[in-house]
């Protein structure tokens, strides 16, 4: 009994030692990489190039998105002014493959200005057309003007959607815990449609969907993003690794 306890204790101690050593090695490795003066210079070069691109975006007349993996933020901006910020819950990069053969695009999504971003499926605007009755002719008084719909009623948001950019990048917006509020059948149907769409896009091997950036947002943010995104938006992805996603507040669920 005593020997068994000693063995367990020894095994736990050995495991802790291994974990500690690994952590120490990792800690030691990071400063070594950044303390290299040539790497430091290269890092500065890259930062400057990014700043230059951000200035170019801020000086332009178009709306643009800044994705900052380091702060888990996706910000809609215009002329340097942050308009709306969305918290990124997950970030993945997708490449097409056909019959298990990868067709990886050599470009990296970072440090490039992606332009001409449009929603897919597009946000439909159903315009009400009113023909005036003409001077002196009274419009029918018996029909009061209809109460206009709310934005939620006006713009139904698909469970998943894309923002497609001109040069082959497609940003896929995926709500966290997607489709939690819809039925199982609708969920399965949406998943099938999505899968079929993926297969078609991969087989088409066009420049339209050469790289995918999958961004996971909270459901409310995903809906808000779809409703708010202006046309012909631009995008830049800044330096930095993705931080582990913070848990969403309890009241941010899809069922609200």
């Amino acid at each position: 009994m005593r020997a068994s306890r000693i063995r367990t204790f020894a095994a736990a101690a050995a495991l802790l030692a291994v974990i500690g050593t690994a952590a120490a090695c990792q800690r030691g490795a990071a400063p070594a990489a950044t303390s290299d003066p040539r790497s430091e210079a290269a890092r500065l070069q890259r930062t400057n190039a990014q700043l230059q691109k951000q200035i170019e975006l801020a000086a332009g007349k178009q709306f643009y998105l800044v994705l900052d993996p380091a702060t888990s933020g996706l910000t809609l901006m215009l002329k340097g002014a942050p308009l709306q910020r969305f918290t990124v819950r997950g970030l993945q990069v997708g490449h097409p493959r056909v019959a298990w053969v990868s067709a990886r695009d050599p470009r990296h999504v970072q440090s490039v200005i992606w332009s001409g971003g449009e929603l897919d499926p597009p946000r439909q605007i159903d315009r009400l057309v009113i023909q005036s009755a003409g001077p002196g002719k009274e419009a029918s008084e018996s029909t009061p003007p209809p109460i206009p719909p709310t934005p939620e009623e006006l713009y139904p948001v698909p469970s998943r959607y894309h923002v497609r950019f001109a040069d082959g990048l497609s940003v896929e917006i995926l709500p966290r815990e997607a489709d939690a509020s819809v039925g199982r059948w609708a969920h399965a149907r949406a998943a099938m449609a999505e899968r079929w769409g993926d297969i078609r896009s991969a087989l088409r091997s066009s420049d339209r969907d050469a790289i995918r950036l999958r961004i996971t947002l909270d459901p409310n943010d995903a809906q808000s993003f779809y409703r708010s995104l202006p046309p012909a938006v631009r995008l830049i992805v800044l330096d930095g690794e993705v931080e582990p996603a913070q848990p969403a507040p309890a009241d941010a669920g899809a069922g609200r």
Binding site: A58, L78, V93, P96, L128, G136, E138, P151, P230, D239
Partner: protein, 264 residues
């Protein structure tokens, strides 16, 4: 398996088969041909089993290939850092090179900061009908508003004009501010109400409709109050931004001529 009813048991197969099934249908010879069975029956078993096996294999292969078709996702990773050839190797030049880069970084950072709006600015989300009063990254006020309905009005007679009631998108700035504003009704306001367009400018004046304050930002557009606060949050305006009375007072208190307005 029973012999085919179309052929009597033990009858020989036709010497030269024709038709679409002919290819590859040779009678099994030698020890495989079971004694007492007709060659035709043996071929049928072989053919059916092969067909089933080939079909199953094809379906399986298609499923496997489709399984491997689509998009493969992996966690986002930062672009690997590549040291370009213009980075010096020697210590002294490298130090100077890095110092120049740091100086450039400061300059670019300052240029980027200079492009950001100074002081308070107004942001309007026209699809969700929200107005934000911001300073830097902070939000001072979030208000429900009403933006352009997107409605199209067509004139029946006269010049057969057409108006689209959208709020504009982009950056604007407050050009003038007015307390107790008077609305100079444009032509569409009369066309919409099926009234003749007045020739006397005084007949276009409308008092009280715009609320306590109006902030003009060009082309006839303004941020103003409303008589229809129950419709706030819905896109009902003719392109202007309607705000509730209390929120409008806060906007008025913080805005100045030149305050930037961003509408998206």
């Amino acid at each position: 398996m029973e012999p085919s009813p179309s052929l009597p048991a033990g009858s020989a197969p036709p010497a030269a088969a024709s038709g679409p099934d002919a290819a590859g249908r040779r009678p099994p010879a030698g020890p495989q041909a079971a004694p007492g069975r007709t060659p035709r029956a043996g071929r049928g078993v072989w053919f059916n089993r092969r067909t089933v096996a080939v079909t199953a294999g094809a379906v399986l292969l298609a499923a496997v290939l489709l399984r491997g078709t689509g998009y493969r996702y992996e966690p986002y990773a930062e672009q690997p850092l590549a040291v370009s050839s213009d980075v010096p190797s020697d210590a002294r030049p490298l130090e100077q090179f890095t110092a120049r880069l740091r100086s450039r970084q400061r300059t670019l950072g300052a240029r980027l900061d200079a492009l950001m709006p100074k002081g308070v600015y107004i942001v309007i989300d026209q699809t969700q009908n929200r107005l934000y009063l911001k300073r830097g990254d902070g939000t001072l006020l979030q208000a429900v508003c009403s933006t352009g309905s997107g409605m199209v009005l067509r004139e029946s007679g006269g010049k057969k004009r057409e108006w689209v009631f959208d709020s504009p998108r982009g950056r604007f700035e407050v050009r003038s501010m007015s307390r107790n504003p008077v609305w100079h009704k444009p032509d569409w306001a009369f066309v919409e109400e099926s009234q003749p367009i007045p020739t006397n400018p005084a007949d276009r004046l409308d008092y009280g409709t715009l609320g306590e304050y109006a902030l003009y930002f060009g082309d006839g557009f303004m941020i103003h109050g409303t008589l229809y606060e129950r419709l706030l949050g819905r896109a009902v305006s003719h392109g202007c931004i309607r705000v509730g009375r209390d929120d409008l007072r806060k906007v008025w208190a913080n805005a100045r001529v030149g305050t930037q307005i961003f509408i998206y």
